[in-house]
Symmetry: C3
Subunit: 365 residues, 3 copies
């Protein structure tokens, strides 16, 4: 009986979850403003005063490092007349964040420290005009923000995932390459695409030589992440066009870990792909119901960068091609789902993970 | 008395019929989704498996020919996860329509014939997942679709028009040239412009040498088409810059037919212009209240294509210039009608056809 | 007591005044359609029949001069079928305004004088189909329109301002240069930016050498204009990069007037900047809540144009740079105000004028 229910046909989501601008806005609130989202790497703000901007839901957030080395993040809005404080994507503050309009000046911790010609205004106090801060935390070198300050602890959200990939020592890795893509598809279609390999033999000719699409082994569903592994084919060392690599295999991996690739989605916007010799990350930035920006990065062991012949293009080129194949078919999905005749269709047993994923992403709505 | 009413001043439509996005959407449903619309020529899908896409109201429709030679049309939406099946404007299927995502595969008649990994899903049956079909029919080589499948018979819609231009043997003609225009005007303004020649001496300097703008002779209004003829001036053989042609006059035309050009609008989106030696067609593709794509084609007798010196540029260049003059003034109309001071203006007796046309197009609203 | 209230902290406006499309539309009605707005200079239509177009709120207005030399303005909409009559930004009518579609023809005073094939239409009278006129008036060579015809007298709106800058003889000046800018900011942010110089030392390095930012002396607020003066620094003759000029100082200026620059905002859309040797004007053309087109012109004494070595680039280059600095920071303001965390912030005593300006512009809403 139980089994029959399990086997009962599961279906894709109704169209509104991919096309309705009102639903999109609510969803952004729920998943991007009330949870921890991944915005980048600690490496991007290596020195005090260095900063980068994260943009989500029309908001610009400054992520910076104080003189004490602590990471802070603030809404990019001056408390005087609302001016956006920085408009360069990344850069370095000289110990202070100064508004380009009237020079209201803030410490790297967000406190207002200078406000010209305000001294004699009755009722004004500098203490009341700190920058609007958001919560920050890090895990394995990834910077996470909790914009609403109501998401609880990052550790609680990550749970067992925190220790799972310790062997990769991700916090030490360095960015070798970063590519930004604009994908004309709902962000959930990108996650669904990432979460099944039934499509692999159809659209990824380069992939099937390296891993068999039926070799996937999924973890039981968690409300905070979703993932599994795939077996590297015999003779394949890592995911590159040749299946070979000049890079060192990460030193602490177990024999088991060396024979697999691990694909994990950390809700809502981080995709982690662990390879024997590199880690690939995608962060997803929904721009509208039907447009998502995707930042893909390839991270390598620091020793690799010391080699005169360091070259990461084999890993980059391989996945850049696969990425583009995935974005294209995700865009086709978006187009078809927008049709008046689209209705939920049946999932195969190779796509059961997606039904669970749909449940998480729609919260039962 | 009757005559006084007939002579009473008729006026153009209120602005909302040209500018209101909500009205536009309703109108598209009524005229493009619940009637037969012309989408192309049988020649475009000469062989089994060849196809082209028609796009209307955000929907993409696949028009193809089965192995038995029958024309079929389907919504371009896979029944599995909704993926758009084809994204190239035209091409050829190799006996099957395969989804680019997970290889669900359909016959050219739309039946699902392959669905990987679905065999053991309880409750799933291939019979329930044919492509969503729309009705197809042809007349004189033109392919018509009835998307709602509720439009009745094409023959009933065409009525007496079906036999009227038999002498041109349009089903045998071949496309010599195709030009696509984007016109920033409501589609009804383009039909109104096509339906009167009071503007001809003002904006078409090239036209008045060939036909006199007052020579028009209109048929009584039908709910399905509207048209009339104009006399070719003495010494003028056809509509080209010189009034001459190297092409053969169509062999079955009567003496009367050789001395006229016939302009017919077949509701909602086909304009037919019969000349002694070629047929010009326009199909109209409303994109928004104020944007219409227009596909103009010039069709010639098959024998013409066998001539070493075949050249259709005289007919094409002539009408391309006239088209552009018409689109420009239609765009000016759209702009003016959008003004707060626009109100219905009076039609002259040379524009009475337009009042009837307005009635048909607005259905008394 | 009075003084304490005066000193109480004043704050910037809530975000909706800068971001809400609905509020924007209402505001445009109130300030641009129900008041006199400045659209250009009499010099632009020096001869009878010459014309230019003004575009506001989606409306196109023809401004022209009749054979008797009187200035007229009309909605650019033919009374026949609503066609926009002219689509070139400026030009010359040959004594008549003829519709490009069916040649309905109007006098330069807007009366319908020709309507082909309308003579026998029962109920039609040419008298009923004049162009829709709007009120026109001029002051100091500036052309003003009252589109609603309900704005009262221009003189009443201008009040004491009319005589204030008589010494510049602005009606005689000629345009030396015109630059159009598209600014991604609400039009009120541009006026606020124009109305305080607290930002000058921060963003205008070139300005502070010429005038001290604290030297401003503001007039008491009027409901129709707002302005004040700034002192030229010692040794500075006018606003150019060097502070010098080859042009003659305007001959009728007082000693006092020669030592100042006067900045006046005439509601809603004219900024007047009087210099000892030139007058700069900005007209503001709101396109949406967050986009404004700005036309900046530099006007010089007619005698200057007679000089073989006339060159106005020193004045133009100086202000073009300052303009761009102002537009950039106004765009940053727009971006920050759009944030969810933006809330009204405190004005300093150097920005008190802005609080009054905000009151005028929001009418207590």
């Amino acid at each position: 009986m139980e089994n029959r229910i399990e086997n009962r046909m599961k279906e894709t989501l109704p169209a509104k979850f991919y096309t309705d601008p009102k639903y999109f806005t609510e969803e952004l609130e729920q998943f991007y403003f009330k949870r921890w989202i991944c915005v980048g790497r600690t490496e991007q703000i290596g020195k005090p005063g260095s900063y980068f901007l994260a943009e989500i839901g029309g908001e610009s957030i400054i992520v910076t490092r104080s003189l004490e080395g602590k990471i802070h993040a603030f809404f990019n809005v001056c408390r005087h007349r609302g001016t956006r404080l920085c408009d360069k994507e990344s850069g370095s503050f000289n110990g202070r964040i100064a508004c380009p309009y009237h020079s209201w000046t803030y410490g790297l911790d967000g406190r207002l420290v200078g406000a010209p010609h305000m001294a004699d205004v009755v009722g004004f106090s500098m203490d009341n005009y700190s920058l609007h801060a958001v919560n920050c935390d890090t895990w394995d070198g990834h910077i996470f923000l909790d914009i609403s300050k109501a998401a609880g602890k990052l550790q609680d959200q990550l749970g067992p995932l925190q220790e799972k990939f310790r062997a990769w020592r991700s916090e030490d890795l360095l960015i070798g390459k970063r590519i930004a893509y604009t994908v004309k598809a709902n962000w959930k279609l990108i996650i669904q695409n990432y979460s099944e390999c039934l499509h692999c033999p159809v659209i990824h000719p380069g992939l099937k030589k390296l891993t068999h699409y039926l070799s996937g082994d999924n973890e039981p569903l968690s409300p905070h992440y979703l993932g599994g592994s795939m077996d590297l084919n015999e003779g394949v060392v890592t995911m590159t066009a040749t299946g070979k690599t000049d890079r060192q295999i990460f030193p602490h991996l177990s024999a088991e870990q060396r024979r697999h690739v691990y694909y994990y989605w950390v809700l809502p916007n981080l995709l982690l792909s662990f390879h024997p010799d590199y880690v690939m990350t995608h962060t997803l930035w929904p721009r509208s119901a039907d447009v998502t920006e995707v930042i893909c990065e390839w991270h390598f062991h620091p020793d690799e960068f010391k080699r005169a012949d360091f070259n990461c293009e084999d890993a980059v080129d391989f996945w850049d091609a696969v990425n583009k194949e995935d974005w294209h078919v995700s865009e086709l999905s978006q187009l078809g789902i927008q049709s008046r005749v689209y209705s939920p269709g049946p999932y195969s047993h190779r796509e059961t993970l997606l039904h669970g994923l749909d449940s998480i992403l729609t919260g039962g709505r």
